[in-house]
């Protein structure tokens, strides 16, 4: 039990050190840095595009559905990496299981396609 809490003690120490590091660095910068504000410096992106319009702007709802579909297949690829790592030891079973997994996701894509989600109007 004691070693158990000791291992959490290390986590706690790292946490405190991390918070302290950031606090000291930012605090020192705020105290020591000279401050000469100019309009260009106060812009959202000091170097880069000038922001246009308000922060609260409407976004096409369709981006959201595309985003959904993207995330699904993105996560699928995340699952493929560990599978590729161990698949040699598992053989045919692993191939079939991954085929089922990808197959079900592909059916989902078929559903989305037939529902007209992929068409940009």
């Amino acid at each position: 039990m004691e070693t158990y809490y000791q291992s959490y003690g290390v986590v706690l120490a790292v946490l405190i050190a991390g918070v302290a590091l950031v606090a000291v660095a930012f605090g020192a910068a705020a105290l020591l840095a000279p401050r000469r504000p100019l309009p260009a410096k106060l812009a959202t992106y000091e170097c880069g595009m000038d922001p246009v319009g308000e922060g609260w702007s409407q976004t096409q709802i369709r981006y959201y559905i595309f985003g959904f579909l993207f995330v699904i297949f993105d996560v699928e690829s995340v699952f493929l990496f560990p599978w590729a790592r161990v698949f040699e030891g598992l053989g045919m079973t692993a191939v079939v299981e991954m085929a089922i997994f990808i197959g079900i996701l592909a059916l989902g894509l078929v559903y989305a396609w037939r529902k007209g989600v992929l068409r940009w109007v």
Binding site: T93, I104, L107, V110, R114
Partner: protein, 476 residues
């Protein structure tokens, strides 16, 4: 490596049927709701057959300890599949009538059922979590499926509070893993057994899991989403989720309490008893104050969650036996009650108490069926609700919680007022307005099934006691 798929064959069949319906809906040139219903029912029937086949294979876990193969699981699955079949039939009729039937509805009911049956057999907290999510996500969408404002509101509340409770549950799983180094139910019990002092982390895990399950079974004080979700959802969906979620979540809760946390029995006993007492009192008292039938039945379902918890306070087989019988009876009567409401009302109109005034004049059959289900909910003989209440009270008294049985009896008396008031309205008042209930005979025949079950279990409970007795053993 050979993978044994028979233990999860019911879930595979349900998901397969769900995918078939979903794709059939978008690929077929003309979507035929009747074909969707037939495929869905075939999936449910296949799943039921696959479950029954597992009856003789008592005593193992499968898929690397993820699911349990036991008789408790078989009985819980059969109850859930029965609920799903009734809900599919009701939804097919009432949603088509209201112009809200889409192929997604039966598909989502099938996916939710797969989650429920998996939840009932999960032998590992990770499986429990996955199953819980499958069922919840499908139900959030089903609740909002009618696109009426009240339906969307209910779905939103259900989703936000459901996601919140999922976080509690997941944190509980993490704590259980931290305390014992495993997430398998048997493994947790093994790690906790024989310790002289209880590890604090295990107690935290117990508390967080209790909150997570409390939300899902809508036990007070975690019941806030229940009335809104039940009122907003299309009534056939309400019938499905009120019965299904409760049976499935209680099956998983019984596994967690009586297997994983069995060594902590002295610690969770008072917690469960407290939840039970608060639920029966809050549910019964608030049911009286409602003017909407669906909200009244929602609060009644909170009270019924409390009654099941009263049974669950008795550790081991007697408690499981009583809780299982209560769940079976509850599933029959709540599906029936919401089924009647789905025929009396149309969309969101016609669900107030006033709309049920003089129902006997307009449709004696519906009034008779509703009266039977209400008597059973109130726990009046000769109905299943009476036997169920007696069995949970007996289990609690034998476990030494006589005060809990007393609270339960008093709360039933209070709740009976709400049910009997509705019966008085139906039989002794003149109809108000001129809304006619749905005249079609098929859904009445469907509702005759839970009605027959309610009566049969009330008169001859011996029909199932043998089966339930064999199923009331949990080892993982």
């Amino acid at each position: 490596m050979r993978v044994e798929l028979a233990p999860i064959a019911p879930e595979l069949l349900l998901v397969g049927a769900g995918i078939a319906v979903l794709l059939g809906g978008v690929l077929a040139r003309r979507a035929d709701p009747l074909a969707h219903l037939a495929v869905s029912l075939a999936g449910v029937a296949g799943a039921a057959a696959a479950s029954v086949m597992l009856w003789s294979r008592e005593g193992a876990t499968a898929l690397a300890g993820a699911v349990a193969v036991d008789r408790f699981g078989v009985v819980a699955r059969l109850v859930l599949l029965g609920v799903a079949a009734l809900a599919l039939l009701l939804a097919h009729h009432t949603l088509a009538r209201d112009g809200e039937l889409r192929p997604e509805v039966p598909a989502l009911i099938l996916f939710a059922t797969a989650g429920m049956t998996l939840l009932a057999v999960s032998a590992d907290l990770v499986t429990t979590f996955v199953a819980l999510e499958v069922l919840s996500l499908s139900l959030y969408v089903l609740t909002g499926s009618s696109r009426r404002l009240v339906s969307l509101e209910g779905a939103m509340k259900y989703f936000l509070l459901g996601a919140f409770s999922t976080a509690f549950f997941l944190y509980g799983v993490a704590m259980a893993y931290g305390a014992t180094g495993t997430t398998s139910l048997g493994g947790i019990a093994h790690a906790l057994a024989g310790r002289t002092e209880t590890p604090a982390l295990a107690l935290v895990a117990m508390a967080l899991l209790a909150v997570g399950f409390g939300f899902k079974v809508s036990a007070a004080p975690f019941h806030m989403w229940t009335p809104d979700a039940y009122q907003g959802a299309p009534t056939a969906v309400t019938a499905f989720m009120s019965a299904g979620t409760k049976v499935a979540a209680f099956a998983a809760l019984l596994r967690v309490l009586d297997v994983a946390l069995q060594p902590l029995g002295w610690d969770w006993g008072p917690v469960v008893a407290g939840l039970a007492a608060v639920s029966v009192v809050v549910g019964s008292v608030l049911a009286i104050a409602q003017t909407d039938v669906k909200r009244m039945l929602a609060y009644s379902s909170v009270a019924h969650a409390g009654f099941v918890l009263i049974g669950a306070t008795a550790p081991g087989a007697p408690g499981i036996d009583a809780a299982l019988f209560y769940l079976l009876a509850y599933a029959l009567m709540i599906v029936g009650a919401f089924g009647v409401v789905s025929l009396v009302s149309q969309g969101e109109r016609g669900t107030s108490l006033e709309d049920h005034a003089g129902l006997y004049r307009r449709s004696p059959v519906l009034a008779g069926l509703f009266a039977l289900f209400l008597l059973s909910l109130a726990g009046i003989p000769p109905t299943a609700g009476f036997i169920a209440k007696v069995s949970v009270f007996r289990a609690a008294v034998e476990a030494g919680h006589w005060w809990l049985a007393l609270v339960g009896v008093l709360a039933s008396v209070v709740a009976a007022f709400a049910y009997i008031r509705l019966m008085v309205l139906m039989y002794m008042r003149e109809p108000v307005g001129h809304r006619e209930p749905d005249p079609s005979p098929v859904p009445r025949l469907v509702l005759a099934i839970p009605a027959a079950g309610t009566l049969l279990l009330g008169v001859l409970p011996g029909l199932v006691t043998d089966v339930l007795g064999k199923a009331a053993v949990l080892r993982w």
